[in-house]
């Protein structure tokens, strides 16, 4: 037994690589889906907050991520944008990460087309600016000073939906989709605590546990954490074929596989240790 475990302990990495790949690929190929119940999660808080907003409200949606975390954050962006546009809420997009500007365009034009909403009337994409937190403070005194024109260089005055926007406090909610720094903390600090605008949003699973403290204090109205948060929101909004819900099956299998790896690895380690071998 011990020798088998020892052999396992020295397994070529590539075998482990193949196993983890299979645990993800097989559920996708066989289209296995699991129901995704949504409990008393912060993703539900986020949904309910937006759901209670009257139509015609203005929401600032900041795309603070790049391609590296797209699989987690893009489905969230799509689900939230669908919810907002469906409720006739005006969506103003911007980005703290340069790549976010392109990804915002892709998400918004896709969702708006499917719901028959028009750019510049129901949504617009202001694009990217440098400066992160310092830029957000400037947004608090004047939006137009930071965004004299939108992503495609259309002047601020020529975008009709922006007529009622002067600074951050013109918005009823700020939503950030954040992959790290700059992201959620910058928005909570500047928009939330400094200017009193409610902040909510989604983040990668890596940073989600940190932001639970902002939920307990009410500094954030809701939070989607990682692919699970995205799947929750898809469920709540009623997107049937969302990539996040689809991803829950491979995610489940892969989690089990990794936990199994940890258990086997530890059994091998302790049995060897017991035998008197050093680590």
């Amino acid at each position: 037994m011990a020798s088998i475990l020892k052999k396992l302990g020295n397994t070529d990495r590539r075998i482990i690589f193949i196993l983890i790949a299979l645990s993800v690929i097989l559920p996708i190929i066989f289209k296995i889906t699991f129901p995704n119940p949504v409990g008393a999660e912060p993703s539900r808080d986020m949904f309910e907050y937006i759901d209670a907003m009257p139509s015609g409200s203005d929401v600032l949606m900041s795309f603070d991520y790049g391609p590296s975390t797209m699989p987690e954050l893009q489905p969230m962006a799509i689900a939230i944008a669908t919810h907002l546009l469906r409720k006739d809420i005006n969506v103003v997009c911007m980005a703290l990460w340069p790549e976010g500007a392109s990804l915002a365009q892709e998400v918004m034009s896709g969702v708006a087309d499917s719901l028959g909403r028009t750019q510049y009337e129901d949504w617009c994409n202001l694009g990217y600016k440098t400066g992160a937190g310092i830029m957000i403070v400037r947004l608090g005194s004047s939006m137009k000073a930071v965004f004299p024109a939108d992503r495609d260089n259309l002047p601020w005055e020529e975008i009709p939906m922006l007529a009622q926007i002067s600074d951050l406090t013109s918005f009823d909610l700020v939503i950030t989709l954040s992959a790290g720094d700059p992201g959620v903390p910058a928005w909570v600090m500047m928009a939330g605590d400094r200017f009193g605008v409610p902040v909510g949003g989604g983040c990668t699973a890596v940073s989600a546990p940190q932001f639970y403290t902002y939920l307990q204090t009410g500094q954030m109205v809701g939070l989607l954490g990682g692919l699970k948060g995205a799947a929750d929101y898809e469920t709540l909004v009623g997107i049937k074929d969302g990539t996040a819900i689809e991803g829950m099956a491979p995610q489940s299998v892969a989690h089990l596989v990794i936990m199994l790896f940890i258990v086997i690895g530890n059994v091998a380690y302790f049995s060897e240790k017991k035998k008197g071998g050093r680590r």
């Binding site: 009257p54 406090t169 605590d193 009193g196 940073s207 940190q210 050093r278």
Partner: protein, 401 residues
């Protein structure tokens, strides 16, 4: 908050209107007649005041709308100054109940009134309200924070100054540091090298600086024990700084002859390229002790895994929140977050680092006491109301608006 209350007011008005209409329930013809006779709705309860906590030049207006009467097309905000000038400032959609006039001159007494437009003419007019705009010197809701922040800053600077004057500042022993000597000792026994990885960021990162300070200590130990010390770096500047520090360490131990510059080499700036390079070194050299101290990102996992698989004692330390868990699970000792900085302050004895650490401790102690007293007061307050106001006071102390 203002938006919310305005929204609530509108909601209340709408529901009140709806309730009235429901209750009356008169025949339709009567209603039509009544409407024709009714006057145009006008703004009531107009209040004007200086916008609080701003740079001046702004007056805030709030009002309500009459619930009965013909709904106007739009509202207009009018203003007159003491010199007889009368002007129309803006036109607003019906349903608006607040406006901020940003064009006021500080110190001028203005009269404001709201008019109701119907078919392009003024059909109704509110009472007048008077206000003078002025600038404020401080956000009142932030005074408490200013005082606390100022006190903590003063304490930090005080301790730095004391440290500079040569007074001993006590910092507790850091557990991971005692492990450093053991690890180096074990490497010597086994006749294997020691590997030190200073993170992947440049010298401008405070974690890298802290790491380099600890490298000095490790270098002295390896020099004393006589085991080779390998330091692969991800940045060329870090390499040259590390060479200086290690040389210094060997010199202090009186073993400058054993110092080998070639053991401290720059690999590549690329994150994964660096990880692959270090992996190669681990597999080839089989170090008995590995130090992973500094700023790490996703490569932390790859490094710690290979280190574990070659059977080395691993001592890690980082302030990157997402990497700490991996280090705890895969390494023997981990300096968690601030412990890394504390360790470098402990070793370097530099007044600015020690003083800051003491000052931060004072801040933490203050918050700690505040939390404990606050929680006790709030809990007793549930049964005995005087304590409730104590808790409320403490909560207000840390409230910032």
């Amino acid at each position: 908050m203002k938006n919310l209350s305005a929204f609530l007011i509108i909601l209340l008005l709408i529901s009140a209107g709806a309730a009235l209409a429901d209750n009356a329930d008169p025949p339709e013809s009567v209603v039509t007649e009544a409407v024709e006779e009714l006057e145009v709705r006008r703004a009531i309860d107009l209040e004007a005041s200086d916008t609080p906590e701003d740079e001046g030049g702004s007056v805030s207006l709030t009002w309500l709308m009459e619930t009965e009467g013909v709904t106007p097309d739009s509202l207009g905000v009018m203003r007159s100054d003491p010199f007889g000038g009368e002007e129309h400032i803006t036109t607003l959609p019906v349903g608006t109940v607040m406006y901020r006039d940003q064009s006021a001159n500080n110190g001028t007494e203005y009269n404001y009134w709201v008019v109701s437009y119907l078919g392009g003419t003024i059909e109704a007019c509110s009472d007048r309200a008077v206000a003078i705009s002025s600038a404020q010197w401080i956000y009142r809701g932030r005074i408490g924070m200013l005082i606390i922040l100022f006190l903590i800053m003063a304490v930090i600077i005080y301790y730095i100054e004391i440290g500079k004057r040569g007074k001993e500042l006590f910092i507790r022993e850091i557990a991971g540091l005692t492990a450093v000597d053991d690890a180096v000792g074990r490497a010597t026994e086994m006749g294997k090298p020691v590997l030190f990885i200073p993170g992947i960021m440049d010298m401008d990162n405070i974690q890298t600086i802290a790491s380099i300070v600890i490298l000095g200590r490790v270098a002295r130990k390896t020099a004393e024990y006589g085991s080779p010390l390998l330091v692969p770096t991800c940045r060329s500047v870090v390499m040259s700084v590390a060479q200086e520090i290690v040389k210094e360490g060997y010199l202090q131990a009186g073993r400058s002859d054993a110092y080998n510059k070639e053991n401290i080499q720059y690999l590549t700036d690329d994150q994964f390229g660096y990880a692959a390079g270090v992996d190669g070194i681990m597999v080839r050299e089989k170090p008995a002790a590995i130090f992973l101290l500094g700023c790490f990102y996703a490569e932390s996992l790859i490094l710690a895994e290979t280190g574990r698989s070659v059977g080395a004692i691993q001592i890690a330390g980082t302030a990157m929140p997402s990497q700490i868990p991996f280090f705890v699970a895969a390494c023997d000792y981990t300096l968690i977050g601030e412990e890394l900085f504390a360790a470098s302050a402990y070793l370097s004895r530099e007044p600015k680092l020690l003083g800051s650490l003491k000052g931060q401790d004072a801040g933490k102690l203050f918050f700690l006491i505040l939390i404990i007293v606050g929680v006790i007061a709030a809990s007793i307050g549930d049964f005995w109301s005087p304590m409730k106001s104590v808790a409320e006071f403490l909560r207000n102390l840390v409230t910032v608006n």
